[in-house]
Each structure stands twice: as structure tokens, then as C-alpha cells.
């Protein structure tokens, strides 16, 4: 697995998904407030994606579309994608969407992700290059993790360029470099 150590990938799988148990399961405590340590057939619970994925493969549960991809969110995104608070829906909105789509068999999720991203990246870019921090700070709270990365990437590279353009120290040379090499032995 290429991105085994990718912390964002791990966290995206911590997002909860609504599931329905097809089988009764004994010896598990999913709801700490419940009095028994079993789950009944037909029970509706929320599980983290990594667990749901495994149970799904064992045909123990079926998975429904999580709330952050609900019809209401879709309508909001259609209306004004740039203003939707995706972070509160899921800081891993895109990655989570990619992972959940095949499990719930919903191809429209990918379309939703793409159309949301297409509109939002422009806004991110404009804000990253032009706006002052005070007017952007509210906007930044609406962004998912990857969108924040994008924002920071754009801002950092423009800042680096501006710094260069203003001049300042040239390529700095460590004092040990440029001296004559001496043989190691």
C-alpha cells in the first residue's frame, strides 16, 4: 500500500458512516449506553469507515450514504459551492467521498465532488493571492484539509516569489562550501 503512513488517509477512514446490520453480532459493544453486549439484526448504527468496510466485505452490514453527501448538501453545493462549510461536514470531504462511493454504489458522489471542487478551487486561488488575512480567516474555516493544503501551497509559492523579487540575500553559501576539498583520508 503506497500511502500506508499517510496520516490524512488514516483520518479519512475515521469518518462515521450509517450502517444496518444484516446479522446479529454477539460480543461487541457499539453503543456504550446499551445494556447488552450484542447488536441485533436490523440494528441501525454508525461505524467508522475502516470498520464498516470490513463488515461490508463480510456481508454483515449494508452501508447508506453518509449525511455529508445528503440531498440537502448537494442542493447547497449547487446553489453556491464556494460558501458551503465543507469542513464541518467532513474535513476529508473529497477523500471520504472517494472511498464511500464504491461501497454505497453511488456514482453521483464523484460528480458532486468534482463539481464542488471545480468551483471552490477558484475561490481558494483568488483568496490565496489577493485577500488580506483578516478577510480570509472566516473563509478558511469552511475549507477541507486538502483545500487548506491548496490554499497554503498557492500562498507559499507566491510569497516565496515576492520575497525573491524584492531582492535580499542571494543563494546563501554555507561557509564550509566553496573551500577547497580535502581528501577524507
Amino acid at each position: 500500500m503506497a500511502n500506508y503512513y499517510n496520516i490524512d488517509d488514516i483520518l479519512a477512514e475515521e469518518e462515521f458512516v450509517p450502517v444496518v446490520f444484516h446479522k446479529a453480532a454477539n460480543g461487541v459493544v457499539i453503543d456504550p449506553s446499551s445494556e447488552t453486549n450484542s447488536v441485533e439484526q436490523g440494528a441501525k448504527v454508525e461505524l467508522p469507515l475502516w470498520l464498516a468496510q470490513e463488515l461490508y466485505l463480510r456481508q454483515a452490514i449494508s452501508i447508506s450514504v453518509p449525511a455529508c453527501f445528503s440531498q440537502r448538501t448537494r442542493l447547497e453545493i449547487q446553489a453556491d459551492a464556494a460558501c458551503v462549510d465543507l469542513k464541518s461536514r467532513s474535513p476529508y470531504f473529497y477523500e471520504f467521498g472517494c472511498k464511500i462511493a464504491p461501497l454505497v454504489g453511488d456514482k453521483t458522489i464523484e460528480i458532486l465532488l468534482l463539481s464542488a471542487f471545480k468551483i471552490r478551487y477558484k475561490e481558494i486561488l483568488t483568496k490565496a493571492y489577493t485577500a488580506v488575512f483578516t478577510t480570509t480567516s472566516k473563509f478558511l474555516t469552511l475549507l477541507t484539509k486538502e483545500e487548506t493544503n491548496l490554499y497554503e501551497a498557492a500562498q507559499a509559492s507566491m510569497a516565496a516569489f515576492k520575497k525573491w523579487r524584492m531582492g535580499g540575500p542571494r543563494l546563501q553559501r554555507a561557509s564550509v562550501l566553496g573551500r577547497k576539498r580535502k581528501p577524507l583520508d
Binding site: 463480510r58 468534482l114 491548496l150
Partner: protein, 209 residues
């Protein structure tokens, strides 16, 4: 450990792009007499007073700093030409005007070290800044046209412009590509071997998949 590099590190620093530009050739008019220089990067000179000769930028700047030459600004760096370029740049949404690959770095080097050699320096400088801003804006607003593609031609974009947009454009295109071709980039090794497994007696699964 995602492949896309850390957003805080752009691949080449602006200084490294400048380093590359310094190998471009420029005409100088020396005011000293000096034998040919046989460098690893090539042979230059001989240098004779008032006789123009071509040298790499870094050498031109080194000589200029010591008061040993005048630098002849490149032909494209005139107010007339740049005014035209800017006008055409604004008119055409579809294309970038032809400028040297290192025009941003070259102009900064000249503004910093050879002000007295550039006629209308302030005008030239503000034209170049405007041109660059128009061009960068053009690339970035056109990004969604490239949704889902693997290859985009960016004719006539310059080295520094590429470097500025790279961190953002690279990530954005990767996201476009991923969402347009969901099956192409397996994020995790998705159980595409889709056999559902039999419960219970199976050995314990790997901790992460």
C-alpha cells in the same frame, strides 16, 4: 508520505530558477582588456574595450558589479515591444505572447545590477510586472478546462511563471484527475478483487487496507 510534495516546499526555489537563468547569454561591452576565459561551462572572450561580446548572465553581472562593463539590454526589453506584448496579452484569452523563457529572472537581474544600462527602467519594470500578472491569472482561471486530462500544453509560459503556479496547479490537476477517473487512482488498495469474504474463520485481517 503522499507523493505530492509538502505544500510548503516548492520543487525549485525562486533562487534556483534564477540560477538556471544566469546561464543565458547576454551582450556586454567591456571596458577592460582580458584574455579569453576557458570555463567548465564554455569559453568566453577575449575581452577588449568597447568591443561587444556575449557572456552568460552571471559573468556579466560579476563584471558589471566591479565596474568592468556595460550590459546591453536584450531587444525585447523595450517600452514599445513590452507595451505591445501587454496589449496582446490582455486581448487574447487563448494564448500567451512569446517572451524568453527566463524573462522574469533576466529582468530582475538587470534591474538590480544594471539600472544605468536600461532606458526607461521604471516603465519597463512596471510593464513586465503587469504582463506577468495577466499571464499568471490567465493560467489559473483556465484550469477547469483541463479537468480530468493527463496533459496540458502551456505554450510560451516562462520558467518563473511555471514555478509560481506549480504547487497549486499540480495539486488541483491531480484532484481533477482523481475525481474524473475514480477507478484510476486507487487511494487505498481498494478491495477491487471484490470477492466478498466468508466470515468467521478467516485469519485476522491486516490492520490497515
Amino acid at each position: 508520505m503522499a507523493g505530492q510534495s509538502d505544500p510548503h516546499i516548492s520543487l525549485f526555489s525562486a533562487e534556483e530558477v534564477e540560477f538556471m537563468a544566469e546561464d543565458e547569454l547576454i551582450e556586454i561591452v567591456p571596458n577592460l582588456r582580458m584574455d579569453p576565459l576557458n570555463f567548465i561551462c564554455g569559453d568566453f572572450g577575449p575581452f577588449l574595450p568597447q568591443i561587444a561580446t556575449q557572456v552568460p548572465f552571471w559573468l556579466a553581472v560579476a563584471l558589471k558589479k566591479r565596474g568592468k562593463c556595460a550590459i546591453r539590454p536584450p531587444q525585447w526589453m523595450s517600452v514599445e515591444n513590452l507595451t505591445q506584448v501587454l496589449e496582446r496579452e490582455r486581448e487574447s484569452q487563448g494564448a500567451f505572447q512569446v517572451l524568453p523563457f527566463h524573462y522574469v529572472e533576466i529582468s530582475r537581474l538587470l534591474f538590480d545590477h544594471a539600472r544605468d544600462d536600461i532606458p526607461d527602467m521604471y516603465m519597463v519594470r512596471s510593464l513586465i510586472e503587469d504582463i506577468r500578472d495577466v499571464r499568471i491569472h490567465k493560467v489559473e482561471t483556465s484550469l477547469e478546462k483541463f479537468s480530468g486530462t493527463s496533459a496540458v500544453k502551456i505554450p510560451n509560459l516562462s520558467a518563473m511563471e511555471v514555478n509560481i503556479i506549480r504547487p497549486f496547479v499540480g495539486r488541483a490537476l491531480q484532484a481533477f484527475y482523481k475525481h474524473d477517473n475514480p477507478e484510476k487512482i486507487p487511494d487505498v488498495d481498494r478491495p477491487s478483487s471484490a470477492q466478498t469474504r466468508v466470515a468467521n474463520n478467516e485469519p485476522r485481517r491486516p490492520l490497515r487496507r
